[in-house]
């Protein structure tokens, strides 16, 4: 178990204009499960690879247990990594794959066997120990890759998009298993994914990255309830948050746009300021006294209905749990649930807090 800290870490790949990771500061506590999430090219995998030692650090420091390891060789860092494509040694059996680190470390065969058997038991891999990776299913290979990491009992586990090669059902199952296993082992874990649902369901804390920079670092609910900018607000949550551009009314307590939409805000803001408001789909409600909206598309999912509305100045998606039998073209009134209208600066997209 270990604490990790990225201190002002920068990585710039030769021949590229912008840094892959820029001035990253990220403290991770002992035993914490931290997920780095963001779109492709945001620097999350580079950050993980810098922590593993597979990628160089141009400037800054990475500390494990307070010790700077940013120049240490990968093997000296005591980290175990689960790769996206599992990286199982194809010519070795499951048992040999899992025990490879211990074999290289010249541990006695009896110890290797014992540790491999314990890990295999934990992961339900005991019947497959003599098989080769090619004879395993995707989920089993995934478990072997995890087993290889567990056998080592390292200070830190690193996961680089480990579920992206699995089908949807298995992905849901495996993310539960990984989370459960990490809870049992209590080992500090850094997990990279581009899937925000994976991030939300697994993480103790999530680091949202974009274009090499850390946008927000917090618990899943913090990110969901109080996103610091429009990027985080739009990235976290599925379907994504609805954004409407406009300005603050003269009274400071309402939002309006040029198309005539008007909404009450929580708190007061600088009158006349250009803002973007954000409302999550589940926080839109049908209300007779709300602003006018036309139904454009109805998508029932069984548990709820996703409705796309034409609203003044654009479109918005609402997730409604009750069945309203809405039809395309139907006119309704819409409003936002009190306390759930996020206000962002119209220029830089940063979150604005209203005065109460």
């Amino acid at each position: 178990m270990a604490t990790i800290e990225f201190r002002n870490v920068t990585r710039h790949f030769p021949g590229t204009h912008r840094a892959a990771v820029e001035h990253l500061n990220l403290p991770i506590e002992d035993g914490e499960f931290v997920v780095l999430v963001g779109p492709s090219g945001c620097g999350k995998s580079t950050s993980l690879r810098m922590l593993s030692g597979l990628e160089l650090v141009d400037s800054g420091e990475i500390l494990i247990d307070g010790k700077d390891i940013s120049r240490a060789r990968p093997s000296e860092r005591d980290v175990a990594m689960v790769f996206q494509n599992y990286a199982l040694y194809p010519h070795m059996t499951v048992a040999d794959n899992m025990g490879f680190h211990l074999r290289i470390a010249k541990r006695p065969k009896s110890e290797i066997r014992q540790k491999v058997e314990i890990a295999a038991e934990k992961l339900g891999l005991t019947p497959f120990l003599d098989r080769y990776p090619r004879n395993l299913s995707g989920g089993q290979r995934q478990r072997v890759a995890m087993g290889r990491a567990i056998v080592r009992t390292p200070k830190v586990y690193l996961f680089d998009e480990p579920l992206s090669n699995l089908d949807a059902k298995l992905r849901v199952q495996m993310r539960g298993e990984i989370k459960k296993l990490q809870g049992e082992l209590g080992t500090t874990t850094v997990y990279v994914t581009h899937d925000q649902i994976e991030a939300m369901t697994m993480a103790d804390r999530i680091a949202v990255m974009s274009e090499g920079k850390l946008e927000q670092y917090g618990t899943p609910t913090e990110l969901y309830d109080r996103p610091v900018n429009t990027f985080v607000a739009g990235f976290i949550g599925s379907p994504g948050m609805n954004f409407i551009e406009g300005a603050i009314d003269a009274d400071g307590g309402h939002f309006h746009n040029d198309a005539g939409l008007r909404l009450a805000l929580d708190g007061t803001f600088t009158p006349g300021r250009k803002v973007t408001i954000g409302i999550r789909p589940e926080h839109l409600r049908l209300a007779e006294d709300g602003f006018g909206a036309n139904v454009d598309l109805v998508e029932p999912t069984g548990a709820e209905e996703m409705i796309v509305f034409d609203i003044p100045g654009g479109q918005a998606t609402a997730s409604l749990r009750e069945r309203n039998n809405l039809r395309k073209g139907q006119k309704v009134g819409l409003t936002a649930a009190p306390g759930h209208v996020h206000v962002f600066c119209g220029e830089n997209g940063n979150r604005l807090e209203g005065r109460t």
Binding site: S52, G53, L54, R73, P74, S75, V79, A80, M81, F83, Q84, N85, A87, Y89, P90, H91, F100, H101, I104, A105, Y132, P133, R134, R148, R152
Partner: protein, 306 residues
């Protein structure tokens, strides 16, 4: 067969492309290329038939008397003349030549792979500036014909006292094998997934351990193919052996056969014995081809494909 055992998914993915996928693709291509199929296919079959005919006729003639070969060249032997092989083996000094050739070919294949595999691994996997020019340098070496360099080589080898020496010839064979071997294996190692090296690195393996324990076994298919091609090439090699070897006790099989042919032409013209000598040279290579032909083709296309 060996490839079927290759465990890495990428390879397993690659094999059907060669095995199951490629014929389908080839059929599709030949459907589109009508004239190529119309002319090419009969020509190919004619070439195959001619080769089989020559081979069968050679084996048949090696079991006949000289008079039978000229009088009834297309007939089966009346009495099988096994003694032709005894004559060739004894009079042609083939026993010593076979031993020399076996030692040379195996020694060359082993040394070539021992040098080429690590070199190719470094050239294909290590991000060093000089890797690409060096790979090109090796590739250029493939294009230099042996005849062109044989005189300077002779002068150099003579200076080192390595003319008329099997060690000297072995050094030459290994040196001239390296360009193709390194080029061939570079492509092979480049096709292996880099994540495996990274996983090994995190597991604490050194660069050499990664090469020996992880990457080398995965390149087995390419290495076996290279070993076979190298063995066949040096089993048949004549020019260097003819120029650099001088005494009978150091001759290789191909030169011994050449000498035996000369002797036979002037010594009672035992054509049956001569054909037996040719069979002794050709049949082992043919057996290797028949046994491992599929492996050779798959290994070559796999390396080229990736």
């Amino acid at each position: 067969m060996l490839l079927r055992k290759m465990p890495w998914p990428a390879f397993r993915g690659g094999v059907p492309t060669q095995g199951a996928g490629a014929p389908a693709g080839a059929a599709k291509a030949s459907d589109n290329a009508g004239p190529v199929k119309l002319i090419g296919l009969p020509l190919t079959w004619a070439f195959v038939a001619f080769n089989i005919f020559v081979l069968v006729w050679m084996v048949m003639s090696s079991l006949k008397t000289s008079s039978e070969i000229f009088e009834v060249p297309w007939n089966l032997p009346e009495v099988i003349q096994w003694e032709n092989f005894v004559i060739a083996w004894r009079d042609g000094n083939f026993s010593r030549a076979v031993l020399n050739t076996v030692l040379l070919t195996i020694g060359t294949a082993v040394a070539t792979i021992a040098v080429a595999a690590p070199a190719a691994y470094v050239l294909s996997r290590f991000k060093v500036v000089s890797a690409s020019p060096m790979t090109m340098y090796f590739a250029i070496g493939i294009g230099i014909p042996a005849q062109l360099v044989i005189l300077p080589l002779y002068a150099i080898m003579n200076q080192f006292g390595m003319v008329n020496s099997l060690w000297g010839l072995w050094v030459l064979y290994v040196a001239t094998s390296l360009p193709f071997a390194v080029f061939f294996l570079t492509g092979f190692f480049a096709s292996l997934p880099g994540e495996l090296e990274e996983a090994a690195m995190l597991d604490g393996a050194s660069a050499f351990q990664t090469f020996r324990i992880i990457m080398l076994p995965l390149a087995r298919s390419g290495i076996v193919t290279l070993a076979i091609l190298n063995t066949i090439a040096h089993w048949n090699e004549t020019i260097f052996a003819l120029v650099f070897l001088q005494t009978d006790d150091r001759m290789t099989l191909s030169v011994t056969l050449l000498n035996f042919m000369k002797a036979m032409q002037y010594n009672n013209a035992n054509w049956g014995g001569l054909f037996a000598g040719v069979c002794i040279l050709v049949l082992p290579v043919l057996a290797i081809y028949l046994w491992l032909g599929r492996q050779i083709i798959e290994g070559m296309t796999l390396g080229a494909d990736k």
